[in-house]
């Protein structure tokens, strides 16, 4: 399958890049915070499912800031590799359909997002395991694996709209700063809409979907937000591909 060749090529390009190191470092942050918090016995934690609680608490900083930041940064980094080294002309004169190049890049981005979520889960398990070894009385409970998987899947789907918008912006702008700046403004608008302006429009704002998933007042609509994220992704990926297909490549 030629699309797999494009995917392989795009994956190889990320070797030794910041995107890979960042994936691990950023994913470790949430579980580490949760670890430090749970080192001391916590009555509230003891009443529920401590392992599951540990997973879900570690997810909050991921959904609010780390995952959106990671996506914004990785999108910009991926495109910057081609722009910095002026490799677009070689990529586009290689015998691969443009749709494969486009999808190869987007799939690698999604692979990095999933790797980020996987790293977060592994770090959560690791920190939880350390706590368990240190004091089995703290945890000891069972883990609701189904809930963990569902929540991970939801987080990924909710991030799709943001991924597609940042992918499009990063593909469109040749410099590194513009996609980062637009992404950060987009992210910053989410808490502003939520807390400052208290507007319902936040429920349609793709940068806010992962944040809404950890806000108790909005959890009920999480399936709707997932659909919004998917629709946003389809729309922006279509726009991005049309522009990519017709782009001029300067020498």
């Amino acid at each position: 399958m030629s699309i797999l060749l494009s995917l392989r090529s795009e994956t190889l390009k990320l070797k030794r890049t910041l995107a890979v190191y960042l994936c691990v470092a950023a994913a470790a942050f949430g579980p580490l915070m949760s670890f430090l918090e749970h080192m001391e016995p916590d009555e509230k934690l003891q009443q529920g499912l401590p392992w599951t609680q540990h997973f879900l608490e570690g997810r909050e900083p991921i959904c609010i800031a780390l995952l959106p930041f990671y996506i914004i940064l990785v999108c910009a980094l991926m495109m910057q590799i081609e722009n910095r080294d002026k490799t677009w002309k070689q990529v586009l004169s290689s015998p691969q359909p443009k749709i494969n190049i486009f999808l190869g890049k987007f799939w690698v981005l999604q692979g990095m997002v999933l790797l980020f979520l996987l790293s977060y889960n592994l770090f959560t398990a690791l920190t939880g395991g350390i706590i368990e070894i240190m004091d089995p009385a703290i945890y000891g409970g069972k883990l609701d694996l189904y809930q963990i998987l569902t929540v991970n899947m939801q987080t990924w789907i909710l991030s799709l709209g943001l991924s597609a918008i940042q992918f499009w912006i990063s593909l469109r702008f040749r410099n590194f700063v513009a996609p980062l700046a637009i992404g950060l403004v987009g992210w910053f608008m989410s808490p502003m809409m939520l807390f400052q302006f208290k507007t319902d429009l936040v429920e349609y704002f793709p940068y806010a979907f992962t944040i809404l998933s950890v806000m108790p007042d909005y959890k009920a609509n999480i399936v709707t937000y997932q659909w919004y994220a998917i629709i946003t992704a389809v729309v922006f990926l279509s726009i991005a591909y049309i522009q990519f297909r017709n782009r001029r490549v300067s020498a």
Binding site: L5, L12, R16, K89, R248, V249
Partner: protein, 304 residues
């Protein structure tokens, strides 16, 4: 289309913005097995033409056929047979030479051994784990040529490949181009803005100036054209006295020399004889340098 043609463009035109036309109806005919020098000063439209051949720019007007197939109908099949280097090297600076080649290898369906082969051809087989950001410009240029050679292409397009190469590197490149053409039968299109740089290796030439093709033909045809416009520079002990002797050759004073039109060796001998027989000392008798700029001027004048 003639089967002997590797590239044929018909009426190829392109504009980057509405008011600025870059190419005007370019008709390019590159024969299979030839080394085609694509010459023109900077900004004349060479890179734009080559970018169109590789599908890097959206098609606007005119037709492109490569190996008898229309580029836009069979883009992937055509690109599998083409190796290219467009201006600056396109390399991933955080990857090694081998990794850079590995990025493209699967698309051409060549074996891993081919990577070693092309690195040997360009003399970069010992770069090991050194990433390309630590390469000199010459090394980068050679690696970019290795990328172009990776598919063992039937057609090799090199846009200003000697940029960044030292004189030794330029000689090596020239030899490499000849070897690839003679031993592997590759058709090679090589662009340059320096006539002397390519005329030592090409069999055919196309000259482009301000987006228009001024000349296309074989090297002997170009030489004949240059011969037609050739001038001889003469310096004597008394140029004023020499001028009437050279009246039949259309003499012109150029600095401290006299330039005369001369179309054959017999003319040269006759000029030398008449100067010597008039008891004038002959200090200089040499062909005027017919460089690319002069050639463009001549061709432009001819065209108008």
């Amino acid at each position: 289309m003639n089967n002997s043609c590797a590239i044929k463009t018909t009426g190829l035109s392109y504009h980057y913005s509405k008011n600025v036309q870059t190419l005007f109806g370019i008709n390019l005919n590159v024969e299979r097995g030839s080394i085609y020098g694509f010459l023109g000063p900077n900004g004349s439209g060479k890179t734009t033409t080559l970018s169109l051949l590789l599908g890097l720019l959206p098609h606007q007007r005119g037709d492109i056929e490569i190996f008898g197939q229309h580029l836009h109908a069979s883009r992937i099949n055509i690109l599998k047979k083409i190796g290219s280097l467009i201006e600056t090297p396109s390399l991933y600076s955080h990857l090694t030479a081998k990794e850079n080649l590995e990025i493209y290898r699967p698309f051409y369906g060549v074996k891993r051994e081919r990577i070693k082969e092309v690195l040997q051809i360009v003399g970069l087989e010992d770069t090991g784990k050194k990433t390309t950001k630590k390469f000199s410009l010459g090394m980068k240029q050679r690696l970019a040529i290795a990328v172009a050679l990776l598919p063992n292409p039937e057609l090799l397009i090199l846009d200003e490949p000697s940029n960044g190469l030292d004189p030794g590197g330029i000689i090596e490149l020239r030899q490499l181009v000849k070897d690839l053409n003679q031993q592997h039968g590759m058709t090679i299109v090589i662009s340059s803005h320096i006539l002397s740089e390519v005329e030592k290796m090409v069999s055919h030439l196309g000259i482009i100036y301000k987006g228009k093709m001024l000349f296309e033909g074989t090297l002997p045809q170009l030489h004949a054209l240059r011969q037609k416009d050739a001038r001889l520079l003469i310096k004597t002990s008394d140029n004023t006295a020499a001028l009437p002797l050279l009246a039949t050759y259309g003499p012109q004073v150029v600095g401290d020399a006299i330039a005369v039109h001369c179309s054959s060796n017999n003319d040269i001998a006759a000029i030398a004889r008449s100067v010597m027989e008039s008891n004038l000392d002959l200090f200089l008798l040499q062909p005027e340098e017919n460089n690319l700029e002069q050639l463009f001027i001549n061709l432009t004048t001819d065209a108008s």
